[in-house]
Symmetry: C2
Amino acid sequence: MKKFYDMIETPAMLIDEKITLNNIKMMQELSNRKGVALRPHIKTHRMTYFAKLQMEAGASGIACAKIGEAEVMAKAGIEDIFIANEIVGISKYERLKMLNRKIKTLRIGVDNTFQIDQIEKVFNGEKPLEVLIEYEVGEVRSGIISDEDLLFLAKYVNSKKNVVLKGIFSHEGHTYKASSMEICKEKAEEAYRRTVRAAELIRDEGIPLEIVSVGATPSIMNGAYFEGITEFRLGTYIFFDLGQALAINDFSKCSASVLASVISKPTDSRVVIDAGAKALVSQNRTEGICATNGFGYVKDSNNVRLKGLFDEHGIIENKKFSQEISIGDKIEVIPSHICPTVNLYDKVYLINDGYIVKEIPVDCRGKSQ
Amino acid sequence: MKKFYDMIETPAMLIDEKITLNNIKMMQELSNRKGVALRPHIKTHRMTYFAKLQMEAGASGIACAKIGEAEVMAKAGIEDIFIANEIVGISKYERLKMLNRKIKTLRIGVDNTFQIDQIEKVFNGEKPLEVLIEYEVGEVRSGIISDEDLLFLAKYVNSKKNVVLKGIFSHEGHTYKASSMEICKEKAEEAYRRTVRAAELIRDEGIPLEIVSVGATPSIMNGAYFEGITEFRLGTYIFFDLGQALAINDFSKCSASVLASVISKPTDSRVVIDAGAKALVSQNRTEGICATNGFGYVKDSNNVRLKGLFDEHGIIENKKFSQEISIGDKIEVIPSHICPTVNLYDKVYLINDGYIVKEIPVDCRGKSQ
């Protein structure tokens, strides 16, 4: 093991091992206490290494966003995968057919009959594909909105022989924009109530539903819960990021950072680092409890944030910080939004007490097809 | 050759071969007419394939942003590379030393004495490293600002035996925010005037300067020029993007697009595609001639733009477009900002007349160290 600062070429992604293991344990225990299954969403880390640690800690399975991710995870031995997204395309269902033969449990999200018809066609004579209906609860993204459409789709699925309706899922992503933690929790619980009600509507039609899946890191960290939920499905809690740390007012859970070098100090307040939009992503949440006010937070600093990101340069404007730092120094930046940031790297460095424990491949990086 | 829509898994990046070759030729001819060298910046495409085409078309060399890129390009046989960025760190200079032995011409950007001291130390006994001083002309990024600092650094470099001052360079990136094409050109020419003047100041000290390098796609497309410039250094012109097309009011030069599938239509106006922030980057220029008003433009559409990007979903809100398109259809999206978008892909599909000509690896993807 070597002291890491000295030999890591920047920009690079570092993962603090202790904090990450604590985060995994913390969320599993929280789910266990509530009596719901935990299905971590691996779109945050995109690494089989961490998915396996989450499974070993007690996760019931994993959630993915894309078939490409699910294929990599299945190859690594994970046997219970829910792709929480609408999959469309005959060639994609052909791939799902192969995957469905290979692992114990494969499920996908649906919100339209076009998908059901494609599944029905491709899965003919196969082990049926299990699906969960996506229900919209305020995020303004995908998912069924009206009761009428919901019941129509549930009955439509139920009438097919190669598709099995297993449950319902929703994502309370709009709670990221809540103006306080209390309102975040309220909005999340209202979203959960609506999801549970939607499940009841379907059950009232005599269609059994096993799973009611919800979750997002800020909501669950703020204690949101509603009777009838069977599964928490969330991703960012493993590493946190600037937005998520602000949502819970706690930076101590941030385990991922981008190591960068100071390459220029053109004025007495401007510090330029070698991590730009290809190393940190220029996302900046503008409202609510996750509002990041910039493009990253200098770790262990007194609120030093990146003001700007060019493709290859990160810009800090801070006179005091500039006085304390020299060209050639390395700093760690907590990204604004971790999920697309991890996806920029081929590997991460696992760090423990300042030493490199190992290099971990981001083996689902770019696997968005 | 196969018709491409049918078999490409989405999201994927497509490059139109004819338009790209035309763009390469157009910029080379424009530079030739002005009598200045063209040094394409490969940070846009990050592919040795296109760098070689640019060299074959008459480019004097290439510009890179990172050593990682330069190493890949040198390995592919490119012998004249300028890394237009401040490089810091002994280990990085050790890598540059290897590269300097290998290729005919290697140059880097400098704006501080810390770099010069590191070069002087590492390059002792080697072929000296050639450098260009970066001069700030309004972008508020890196580069020397005052005449005093400029002359101090020029003399400092000139006093060393392992570093050779070859020129000066600037980047008029602030012109992206100009409110009109005329003002863009004016601002660019003012930036060029200042760069040429800075070169003269150094020459007046008896220090010869061979190169005066400037350039950004909107400025040069708008005809900006100033006597004394020796080199155009720009990247985006090879593919253009939404911001750059708006800057010149011409979409016909956009040769890169992201192929995406419609996966959901939750309302009568909302269309959800399978390309999110991991396939299109959620950058949105907010002001000036490059203001993108959204996160991508649906190719050949009547101003249909992506309103939102989640990690894995792109959102269009357009009633008319929604009526015309079905779940399962594939669309092409011109990205808001091409440079970080290409960097998300391992390969691109080269397309000619609707057929796949070949798959090209993005061999510098992620090579930001």
